[in-house]
């Protein structure tokens, strides 16, 4: 009877062991569930197009200005301008709020170049996808042109040499224009990157996870975009509907539904889970994290891993001149640490992100909001809290600045900056650039200039590292200096302890040890007498 029981036990245990190993082995051989769907839904090569634009009759003409090119495009793509004119890329205003409050062209401010002054600042609007800032209509080639071309200079040169009668040069320039007009692509990294890699007035200034290193990244920098790996273009994830590109983060999350292609093959492909699902790991315990921790938190161990990114900007130092001239001082990483026109900067590489609960929305101040200058002002901050359905722990770049504000009205102020506008970068006169800048915004300006410390946040989501580089558990599950040290309100194994319990328990354990030791000593001392007996 007992022998049989014993046998059953051993067999069951062995079976349990065998079963658990086997399931693990079986899982290893099955591919990531969403990958095949993603492959089907995406475009793997350049062979997707059914049109060769160099054969289009409409494009075989002499183009003397940008709008003529757009007209040619619209003669076939008749809905494109209407579609585009509703997008945030064109309007620079949030499509989710009424009016012109939120957005670059509205009253939104940041702690870099602060504001576009309703797109009046010419340097800022050089990134707008029109032919000439916000003038002259849509430039389709900003996003769909394969050739790298300074169109404004090109047409200026064309006109100049035409008037000079330099026929040979005119022909050369026109040939270049024609070649560029027929070189049509889906938006490439260069197209998107020409603005998005250079946000904030220079390469890698604004985003720590979006810079020119992504044009030809190694797999180790970006496992998706790596040219020695998957070689994704931006549009693989940033899918588009009627020219509305998914993935923008404003007051509304980029995705509100956590749905994967496995559940819905027409779901947008913008989130990690779109392709990887909510249970992407072989190890079940790691999958248990995905309801609380965003993929990015562990899989982007640091940002700015190739190019240093700008971390602080002190406007209050701007305006120093050498021999009456503005100057630039370069520092580490060969990046400017001082610019007369902008102030002092610091740059950092391999930056450990800050982690916050985040439901996908970022709340931001506008130039109309009243601030409390006695504390660091959060120009933007992630929205979300623990326990909220959509909120997860997410990594952020936090950019610090010391920026101008109105000491009387307690508002952030919007100086007019560009040289072309005779702004601060030409005059170095805060009063003039601020009174004109605020006038454009139709906002009050008391004339009392102060500087206030501010922070601005960027969700870190690009530059996903290969899985070998993902964070170790101990990065967070650790007693001191863990990455999630600042997040309170929940118990995390390895990080959190009950000090009283720990002290008490160790005290008792040591007492027990001491007691048995004393007891043993007592027995040893007593035993010789016993032997004599």
């Amino acid at each position: 009877m007992q022998t049989r029981l014993h046998l059953i036990c051993v067999i069951t245990l062995a079976a349990c062991l065998a079963f658990s190993w086997q399931t693990q082995a079986a899982e290893e051989s099955s591919p990531a569930p969403g990958r095949a769907m993603a492959r089907q839904a995406g475009i793997m090569s350049g062979d997707w197009t059914t049109a060769d634009h160099s054969e289009m009759e409409k494009l075989q003409q002499t183009f003397e200005s940008g709008p003529e090119i757009t007209e040619a495009c619209l003669s076939c793509h008749s809905k494109a301008d209407d579609q585009l004119s509703h997008t945030i890329h064109w309007k620079w205003l949030s499509p989710y709020e009424d009016g012109d409050l939120i957005g670059k062209a509205g009253y939104s401010v940041n702690n870099f170049c602060i504001s576009t002054n309703k797109m009046e600042d010419q340097k800022c609007s050089s990134c707008h996808i029109g032919w000439n800032g916000k003038e002259d209509g849509i430039n389709c080639l900003r996003c769909h042109g394969g050739a790298d071309m300074d169109w404004q200079a090109q047409f200026k040169d064309y006109q100049f040499f035409k008037e000079m009668g330099e026929t040979e040069l005119v022909e050369e320039i026109q040939a270049d224009i024609k070649k560029a007009v027929t070189d049509i692509t889906r938006p490439t990294r260069q197209n998107c990157g020409s603005c998005h890699f250079n946000g904030g007035g220079g390469e890698a200034v604004k985003h720590g996870d979006l810079d020119a290193s992504l044009i030809k990244p190694k797999r180790s920098l970006d496992v998706h975009m790596g040219i020695d790996g998957q070689d994704f273009s931006c549009t693989r994830c940033h899918t588009t509907q009627e020219h509305q590109v998914s993935g923008r983060v404003y007051s509304t999350p980029a995705v509100s539904e956590r749905k994967s292609l496995v559940e819905d093959d027409l779901a947008p492909k913008i989130s990690c889970e779109s392709c990887h699902t909510a249970t992407p790991h072989k190890d079940g315990k790691i999958n248990d994290h995905t309801d609380m921790v965003a993929c990015q938190s562990c899989h982007i161990p640091e940002f700015a891993r190739a190019h240093a990114t700008e971390m602080t900007w002190d406007w209050s130092e701007a305006g120093k001149l050498k021999d009456g001239e503005p100057y630039i001082e370069k520092g580490k990483y060969d990046r400017p640490v001082y610019k007369s026109i902008k102030g002092t900067f610091t740059w950092e590489k391999d930056v450990v992100p800050k982690y916050y609960w985040y439901n996908g929305s970022v709340a931001a101040l506008t130039a109309k909001d009243v601030i409390d200058p006695s504390k660091t002002v959060r120009v933007s901050h992630p929205v979300g809290e623990r326990g909220e359905d959509q909120s997860r722990i997410f990594p952020f770049k936090v950019h610090w600045a010391n920026q101008p504000y109105d000491k009387v009205n307690n508002t952030l102020v919007t100086p007019l900056l560009s040289k072309a506008n005779d702004g601060y970068w030409k005059t170095f006169d805060w009063q003039d650039s601020l009174s004109r800048g605020m006038e454009i915004m139709d906002l009050p300006w008391s004339g009392e200039l102060g500087f206030v410390e501010t922070t601005y946040v960027f969700p870190t989501t690009h530059m996903v590292a290969p899985k070998e580089q993902a964070l170790d558990c101990r990065a967070c599950h650790q007693l001191e200096d863990g990455r999630l040290e600042n997040l309170a309100g929940f118990y995390m194994p390895g990080r959190d302890h009950f000090p009283m319990l720990d002290y008490g328990a160790w005290g008792l354990a040591i007492a027990a040890l001491a007691a048995v030791l004393l007891h043993a000593i007592g027995r040893i001392m007593a035993s010789p007498g016993k032997r004599e007996e």
Binding site: D157, M164, E166, S194, S418, W425
Partner: protein, 109 residues
């Protein structure tokens, strides 16, 4: 005495300018140079591109002249070979006239 000194200075200055113009290159078409520079050089010498960003104020007049005298040593010497003598002169003219230490440095934020 003062007069004599002024004279000497003037003379020295004159000689200096004379030597200066003698060694300086023959000026080309600056406007063409600007175009050729944009087309042939800036395509790579730009932020985010393969080569170090360059514009006229990146170097002094002397530095530009030296670079053009010894372009065979540059990494992109092949591209230079593709340009005609006049093209090169035009480009140098543009860069020289708007160099960092020129009277009218190129304005670029």
């Amino acid at each position: 005495m003062l007069k004599k000194l002024t004279c000497l200075f003037l003379a020295a200055g004159f000689v200096f300018v004379l030597i200066g113009t003698a060694t300086a290159f023959e000026q080309g078409n600056e406007r063409k140079g600007k175009y050729m520079f944009r087309k042939n050089c800036r395509s790579c010498h730009q932020e985010g591109k393969s080569a170090e960003p360059l514009n006229p104020v990146s170097k002094t007049q002397a530095q530009w002249e030296r670079a053009f005298e010894r372009y065979e040593r540059l990494e992109c010497a092949d591209e230079w070979e593709g340009l005609s003598e006049t093209d090169r002169t035009d480009i140098l003219t543009y860069l020289y006239n708007h160099a960092y230490d020129s009277p009218s440095p190129a304005t670029c934020e």
